[in-house]
């Protein structure tokens, strides 16, 4: 049974979410503050598969929680759930390391679909790393190694963890190596169809990936921009004209 953590200080919403998620077969825990959630997720084995995180919490806000969570090396999928729906807020959420973002008031079916989507992706990666008969899926390019199972990028002997959505996006581009992939297509295929998200979300994730992969993020060789279209992954830039 998948275990979810709802971080929400509004009792009514927390109870409503718990009722619905339990009805879907999840085990649900609730924390009322960012500090309590952070403590739980960064101390010992928490067993949480996904976090639903409110932003306007008393004390430590949701953005800070997800930032500290990532800084502490925890890459549990995080869906931010908040009343703040401006594009800048959404981008800030992604910048801090959230995997998905939903604004209040939200539609119950869409929330459940997003949770299922993220857990499904998490499953794929875990399956890759858990099956003993099949070695963890790896991809090597330009002296870098990506371990999709452990969600890490190795470069020059140094391992760097990637978030679930960074991993999913990278895998999607690698599967289409050398092809131009439009931003809209990335939004639809990586994040699921959504009309409420700015395509800058993709740019934001690409920027984070470039910082992880490229020698010079401002002059990318592997994750190239296709002007007016989107992005292209090139495994061996030296063969390009």
């Amino acid at each position: 049974m998948k275990r979810l953590l709802v971080v929400e200080d509004e009792e009514h919403l927390a109870n409503g979410l718990k009722f619905n998620l339990e009805a879907e077969g999840y085990r649900v825990d609730v924390e009322e503050t960012g500090e309590a959630a952070l403590h739980r997720l960064t101390h010992g084995s928490h067993g949480i598969d996904l976090v639903l995180l409110d932003v306007m919490l008393p004390g430590l806000d949701g953005f800070e929680v997800v930032r500290r969570l990532r800084a502490a090396g925890s890459f549990v999928p995080v869906v931010i759930l908040t009343a703040r729906g401006h594009n800048e807020d959404v981008l800030l959420g992604f910048e801090h390391g959230a995997d998905d973002y939903l604004t209040k008031p939200f539609d119950l079916s869409i929330l459940l679909a997003r949770i299922q989507g993220l857990l499904r992706r998490k499953n794929w990666f875990e399956k890759d790393s858990n099956e003993e008969s099949q070695p963890p899926e790896e991809y090597r390019f330009g002296g870098r190694r990506i371990d999709f199972g452990r969600q890490v990028l190795e470069r020059g002997g140094v391992e760097q963890p990637l978030t679930l959505m960074e991993m999913t996006l990278l895998r999607h581009l690698i599967q289409r190596e050398g092809q131009d992939v439009p931003r809209k297509a990335l939004l639809e295929e990586v994040w699921g169809v959504r009309h409420d998200t700015d395509t800058r979300t993709v740019d934001n994730f690409i920027s984070r990936l470039r910082h992880a992969i490229e020698d010079e993020p401002s002059n990318p060789q592997y994750l190239q921009t296709v002007r007016g279209v989107g992005y292209r992954f090139v495994a061996d830039p030296t063969t390009e004209e």
Partner: protein, 303 residues
């Protein structure tokens, strides 16, 4: 970086910039005086211009610092109102969709309906606060005042608060200190006075924490004025915050207070209502953790 730090940095930046400009102006002027000390008349003109310049710079710096604070409060208000409107709305939508999509047993259904009604009341309270702020901010005096019996209004406010917070043990008590047989009649807007007293009672409850013990006193001050004192034994207020809390959009920035939801409009409404009725509103507290006393003082109707 937390918002408080950002604000402090901005204020420091502006203050430092202002200070530097003033220092440069002083240095230039002293230099000028040293070089041209013989030219008396010009010196006088220079001193006057210099003084004007310095005063202008001081005003400009003070104005910028005040504007930064105002913008911060305004942004915080927008966030708070967004939160106060969208959160109950999200809850109502969630429960309605739950009832539509799932088989919910009758006991749970009733529970959900009660939850939704509480959320509707919260939504209405926020909307009322915003509308009342607009109304009380428009004119200085009450239009078409009527006789308002304060004992009656206080009784209603306390009953409503008790129902809203599901109190059973007289957590909010009325203490009538009027001379026997006397009424406290004020000439004014009944709805506004009721809103002001409700705000004071709600605040006292919200900032009381787990142990709610609120007293609403009605006391005559001489022959012409009456005071409504709302006393609680809650988290109290520091001396610096006592005046600030009546400002529009202002919310005490510490973590303990941040746990209490609100728009930052309540006390500004109380103060506006007091002024529109020719009265005043103020707060007293022994300090943090020692409870507070809020007073709404109004002129009695002259007989």
């Amino acid at each position: 970086m937390v918002p408080g730090e950002v604000r402090r940095l901005k204020v420091w930046f502006v203050a430092l910039l202002g200070g530097l400009l003033i220092a440069v102006a002083i240095a230039l002027n002293i230099g000028w005086i040293v070089v041209n000390w013989r030219t008396g008349l010009l010196l006088l003109v220079g001193i006057v211009s210099f003084s004007v310049l310095i005063v202008g710079l001081c005003f400009n710096t003070a104005f910028l610092i005040r504007e930064i604070g105002r913008t911060e409060r305004h942004n915080a208000f927008i966030h708070a109102v967004t939160h106060e409107l969208k959160t109950p709305l999200a809850s109502i939508r969630l429960y309605l969709q739950t009832l539509r999509q799932r088989d919910v047993d009758p006991v749970r259904q009733q529970e959900f309906i009660e939850t939704m009604l509480t959320d509707v009341a919260r939504l209405q309270s926020t909307i009322d606060q915003v509308l009342l702020t607009g109304k009380t901010g428009r004119a200085r005096r009450v239009v078409n005042p009527i006789d308002v019996n304060l004992s009656e209004v206080i009784g209603e406010c306390v009953t409503v608060a008790g129902q809203r917070h599901h109190f059973v043990n007289d957590e909010v008590q009325v203490v009538d200190l009027l001379p026997p047989g006397e009424n406290a009649i004020v000439l004014g807007d009944r709805e506004e006075i009721q809103a002001a007293i409700t705000n004071l009672i709600d605040n006292a409850i919200k900032y009381s924490g787990e142990r709610v013990k609120v007293a609403v006193e009605l006391v005559k001050l001489g022959a012409r004025r009456v005071a409504i004192n709302v006393k609680d034994q809650g988290m109290g207020i520091t001396r610096q915050e006592l005046k600030r809390i009546f400002r529009r959009f202002y919310r005490i920035p510490d973590t303990l207070s941040a746990r209490v939801r609100g728009t930052g409009l309540g006390l500004s409404i109380v103060r506006a209502v007091a002024r529109r009725h020719g009265g005043r509103a103020y707060a007293e507290s022994e300090g943090s953790g020692k409870g507070s006393r809020f007073t709404l003082e109004l002129p009695l109707k002259s007989s």
